[in-house]
């Protein structure tokens, strides 16, 4: 008896897995936080005793305190909402305003620069306030008509009224503009440009003019002026009708894009063209209730204008088994847009897992060699595969298959713990002869459970199997020592750091 026991002890290695990292409750910091929280909560009874008239709270917990501006704005908004909603007000169109001849306007910008008395009454004497910081901007005493370009810009920067009338020749205008650019004041640059509305070869000034046009929504002028292909392409975003948008994209194909960008735009056009066809067809199918999958998973949104990968996902979801000839089949999309294996694989995996079509998932990995043996292969790491499957609530039996395919022993144990693949865990501990972990793990289960019994069997059979297992032991030795070096560094302190970095 005692000899058997000694044998057994010899057989078992001491535990090499400090319960390797898990991301759940056992976490050191997490427990500490939890404890702190408990401690804080436990004393809340006292703290809450006379809570109401605590001015400390009102000061520092101004979660939009009554009286704040944001609060008040919300109040007005909520009061007004019903009225605003019921009658959708539109601005009455005023025919007069846009057609108002600019030159006749009494308050035209040029009159402002001329410094008429009228303007000065409009300009409030606000700047007299805090005179140190802000001098009055409108001192029309200052007005002299023949300032140099330099002086003119300076006066404009000070907000004074200036006359730009004398800058009439193109040369003078350019000079003024150059001075404005030298002054690094965008406001002035734009002001000068707006007055002259003449295109110039000065880059900074040009950029301001572009920005001004962009901001004032004059896309057309901009397009005509610069013929920027990206800008024109961007215009499609404003077209809501999908057929018109497609037609517009078609016109973009001829634009002088770089070779790659031109391919992207081509793809965009092709994609939208396909999407329109698929959408029309699927809408019909969904309405008539012909297809089971549409009934079980009604479409949440239309596929129009979705990215390519989303479209592929959609097609893997609703049209998985279709032959390559149809536009909506995954194979067709993959071929048309020359998608990489990884892109296709990840998307198909996500879609089939979402549908819980585990046989489809399985066949994604299965390859057959020329002898007819099957083998599981994946273009991405199995860890990533597990991630995706787990997120889609794959059952343990499915996860187990892929956990077993992990080569790194430590990773395997961690993943098995994470997904509660008991068989994998027990087998791994058995193979590494980790009695301590096995015993510890056994405690997690009910006496009557299958896992408990399995661990008991492993433990009981160990001595009898010493010989056979010995070979196995040597086999796993290399893997095991790798895991050992990894775990030994994980003292409590370090592992904490490592989890939180």
């Amino acid at each position: 008896m005692s000899r058997a026991k000694a044998d057994e002890d010899d057989y078992w290695n001491s535990s090499k897995f400090t319960l390797a990292f898990t991301f759940d409750e056992e976490d050191d910091d997490y427990t500490r936080l939890k404890e702190s929280k408990k401690a804080v909560n436990s004393i809340s009874a006292l703290a809450d005793e006379d809570d109401d008239d605590d001015d400390v709270e009102k000061v520092s917990w101004s979660g939009e305190p009554v009286g704040s501006i944001s609060w008040s704005v919300k109040e007005t908004a909520s009061k007004l909402r019903p009225a605003g909603d019921s009658r959708e007000l539109g601005f009455p169109k005023i025919s007069a305003s846009p057609s108002l001849p600019k030159n006749n306007s009494v308050y035209s910008l040029s009159s402002l620069f001329k410094g008429t008395a009228q303007y000065s009454t409009l300009d409030t004497p606000a700047r007299h306030y805090a005179p140190e910081l802000r001098k009055p901007k409108c001192e029309y005493k200052d007005y002299i008509s023949n300032w140099s370009p330099q002086e003119t810009i300076l006066k404009m920067q000070q907000g004074k009224v200036v006359s730009l009338e004398r800058f009439q020749s193109l040369q003078d205008k350019m000079l003024l503009l150059d001075k404005a650019v030298d002054g690094h004041d965008g406001n002035i640059i734009t002001a000068v440009e707006v007055l002259f509305r003449e295109l110039v070869g000065r880059e900074t000034a040009l950029r301001h003019y572009i920005h001004y046009l962009k901001e004032s929504g004059e896309q057309k002028v901009l397009l005509d002026l610069f013929r920027s292909e990206l800008l024109q392409y961007k215009h499609h975003l404003t077209i809501t009708d999908e057929n018109k948008r497609r037609d517009f994209l078609k016109t973009c194909l001829g634009l002088p894009f770089s070779p790659e960008d031109s391919l992207h735009v081509q793809d965009h056009y092709t994609l939208l063209e396909r999407q329109i066809i698929i959408e029309e067809n699927d809408k019909q199918v969904e309405r008539t209730g012909q297809s089971d999958v549409f009934k079980r998973f009604p479409r949440k949104a239309s596929i129009l204008n979705m990215p390519l990968i989303t479209t592929l996902y959609y097609s893997c979801f609703y049209h998985y088994s279709e032959p390559e000839g149809t536009y909506s089949s995954p194979a067709n999309i993959r071929r048309t847009f020359k998608l990489a294996e990884k892109q296709y694989f990840l998307t198909a995996l996500a879609a089939r897992a979402k549908l819980k079509a585990w046989t489809d998932v399985d066949s994604l990995f299965t390859t057959r060699n020329w002898l007819g043996f099957t083998k599981k292969k994946s273009p991405v790491a199995f860890q990533r595969v597990l991630d995706i499957l787990h997120k889609n609530n794959a059952p343990v039996q499915v996860l187990e298959v892929y956990v077993n395919l992990l080569e790194d022993l430590e990773l395997k144990i961690n993943m098995a713990h994470k997904f509660k693949c008991h068989d994998v865990i027990i087998n791994t501990y058995r193979d590494t002869k980790d009695k301590k972990q096995l015993l510890g793990y056994q405690k997690k289960f009910d006496m009557s459970s299958a896992e408990h019994k399995k661990i008991a069997d492993v433990l009981n059979n160990s001595v009898r199997n010493t010989h056979t297992l010995h070979i196995r032991y040597r086999h796993t030795q290399s893997l095991y020592s790798k895991a050992y070096t990894l775990t030994i560094g994980c003292s409590a302190d370090l592992s904490r750091q490592f989890k939180t970095v």
């Binding site: 809340s44 979660g63 409009l122 004041d185 301001h208 990215p307």
Partner: protein, 609 residues
């Protein structure tokens, strides 16, 4: 994933922190550690802005409705409240929503940023009133300044004479004791992408304002074209106004263009404040914690600044150090509460009147930050996040690049967060000095396939800024890295790099602050010309106007203003705070806006109409 990989913490290229000693063991750069000077009182800026606003409101006597730009609501909340506005006859408050209005007031006041869209909307409102035969008075208040382009719209729409316009010089909002923001997030895109200089003078005004209130500055340093222009704009304004001689409260001024360093803001943040910003988004110094943090059914808006005693102690800490601190705090709190057991009545009375209130406040703060940490922890320990961080670290240290590329590819293929994917691509390009041509083409194609071809202009934007580019063929890629690397190993800087490598563990700490520090040491860019040239910088150093002397001078000299044109991150602020503590400086951060990786990327997206 191996523990080695995740334990590795980012340091500057080529170094690992494996053996960096704890902070207390690092020899200080100076033998006598000076205390950091006191910060100037920036609440003055708030008062100034408030008084100016009140003055402007009084320019339109009588009851009026006020329409506020959505972007201005939070900043306005920081300096005034509803009762202030009501006292000056503001009747109702509305948000500018570009919809027809329902106000019945006969006076309307609009508080807006100088954007053409807002002005056009106001024109529509006025014209609609005209058509309906309604007579009202309108006042447009532009902040921080009005642009000629706005007035041009008024003119074009024929309502120039129907409205009055004004400027509210609300340039600066102090977010905290040492952070002042212009609250102009559009500065970044306007200047760096569109090449629009309209905010340059604003930056100059800001310098002028700070100079007249807290100056004169003794020295001004800067890197970048925009910094230089802002500096020149400021000098012009100084020349315009008179200068009075007095002792300043701020010594040196540093100006940085954001494009000098894109690596730091493209990294995930790991200091507490930065992480809170990355995950919950701090807006105008205020964060909204959802039910998962407050463990109740409501969300809570919380101010995050130095007034929050608990926050103030953890804001600059690496996230992993925060738990220990919080749990210790919780224990202390428990002890403090427990004290009351066994007290007599008199003692209890003193306890209640003197300590209880403080304890209760601390208790609230503590439970809130524990809740926030817990919620962040849940996100951070997700495997995906761990992998993301591991990839970032590899990129920064420049190894396993092929693995990183595979990870990014799969991230894209699986249609994970569109912003994160783009961020990783940018980080790859920035750290590798551009992508290999075939990688660039393939990654771009995969990105467009996953997130839509609409992103073509986005890629053009990123290319234009040099954030995501193809490697120029046939050139060695590490020229710049070699130079920067050499700089760091420079003798003169040697003692400092020690301090920095330990800091690197605490935050992503990049070249920017390192350079700043060197400039402080050397009193100029001397010897760094080559590096600044490689960093496409236009560096300059200029002596200021004052030569005050004596003790006042030394305190002032150690108060340093750092202005970021295009935004800065909380990690960078933490790094400066750390540097200040180590060297006895006090840094004041002025930024056009607080930014982070997501905000930067979002500013460059161009897939919307």
């Amino acid at each position: 994933m191996s523990p080695h990989a995740t334990r590795r913490v980012f340091t500057s290229k080529g170094q690992t922190d494996g053996c960096s000693p704890p902070l207390s063991l690092i020899p200080m750069a100076q033998s006598i550690r000076r205390d950091s000077p006191e910060l100037p009182d920036f609440s003055l800026l708030k008062r100034l802005a408030r008084d100016q606003l009140i003055y402007l409101l009084e320019q339109l006597p009588g009851r009026k409705d006020l329409f506020i730009d959505a972007d201005l609501m939070s900043p306005l909340d920081r300096i005034a409240n509803v009762s202030t506005l009501k006292q000056h006859e503001v009747d109702k408050l509305y948000k500018v929503e570009y919809k027809p209005i329902v106000s019945t007031s006969d006076q309307l006041c609009f508080l807006i940023r100088p954007r053409l869209q807002s002005v056009k909307w106001i024109c529509d409102v006025v014209n609609a009133d005209k058509a309906a035969g309604k007579f009202r008075r309108y006042k447009l208040i532009f902040t921080p300044q009005k642009f000629y382009a706005c007035e041009n719209v008024l003119e074009e729409q024929g309502i120039f004479g129907d409205v009055t316009t004004d400027e509210w010089g609300f340039h600066l909002l102090p977010l905290d004791d040492d952070i002042i923001s212009l609250e102009l997030p559009e500065f970044f895109r306007d200047y760096f992408l569109d090449g629009n200089q309209r905010w340059v003078r604003t930056a100059g005004c800001v310098l002028h304002l700070l100079h007249s209130l807290y100056g004169p500055f003794s020295k001004v340093y800067g890197i970048g074209r925009c910094s230089k222009m802002a500096y020149e704009s400021w000098r012009e304004q100084v020349e315009e106004g008179e200068q009075k001689g007095r002792d300043g409260e701020i010594g040196s001024v540093f100006l940085f263009d954001r494009d000098v360093d894109y690596v730091t803001p493209m990294c995930s943040q790991v200091v507490y404040e930065g992480l809170v910003d990355d995950i919950f988004r701090i807006k105008c110094g205020c964060v909204e914690f959802g039910p998962e943090v407050t463990s109740s059914d409501k969300s809570l808006k919380v101010m995050l600044n130095s007034q929050d005693k608990v926050f103030n102690q953890i804001r600059n800490e690496h996230f992993s150090n925060v738990f220990g601190f919080l749990s210790q705090k919780a224990k202390n709190l428990q002890t403090a509460y427990d004290k009351r057991c066994g007290m007599d009545i008199k003692q209890i009375k003193t306890f209640v009147s003197e300590e209880l209130k403080g304890l209760k406040q601390e208790h609230r703060l503590l439970s809130l930050h524990i809740g926030a940490s817990e919620s962040m922890m849940k996100k951070k320990t997700k495997q995906e996040f761990q992998e993301l961080l591991k990839t970032e670290h590899s990129l920064l240290e420049g190894f396993d690049i092929r693995e990183c590329i595979t990870f990014i590819e799969e991230h894209i293929n699986r249609q994970c967060s569109m912003i994160e994917s783009l961020r990783l691509l940018c980080l790859l390009s920035l750290t590798e000095n551009g992508l290999l041509s075939k990688d660039y083409k393939s990654m771009k194609a995969q990105y467009l396939q996953s997130y839509g071809v609409d992103h073509l202009p986005t890629f053009a934007n990123l290319k234009q800024l040099g954030i995501l580019v193809e490697q120029p063929t046939g050139e060695t890629l590490t020229a710049m890295e070699n130079k920067v690397g050499k700089l760091v190993n420079d003798r003169a800087a040697g003692k400092l790099t020690d301090a920095f490598s330990s800091l690197a563990k605490k935050s992503h700490f990049r070249a920017l602050s390192r350079r700043l520090n060197l400039v402080l040491e050397r009193d100029g860019w001397t010897g760094l010309e080559e590096v600044t040239r490689l960093l496409n910088g236009q560096e300059f150093a200029a002596s200021g106007c004052s030569e005050a002397d004596g003790k006042a001078r030394s305190d002032t000299q150690r108060t340093i203003l750092v202005m970021f044109l295009g935004g800065c991150t909380f990690s960078e602020i933490s790094a400066l705070r750390f540097l200040g503590k180590e060297k006895g400086y006090k840094f004041i951060i002025v930024t056009t806006a607080i930014t982070n990786s997501a905000r930067l990327i979002e500013a460059l997206l161009d897939n919307r109409a």
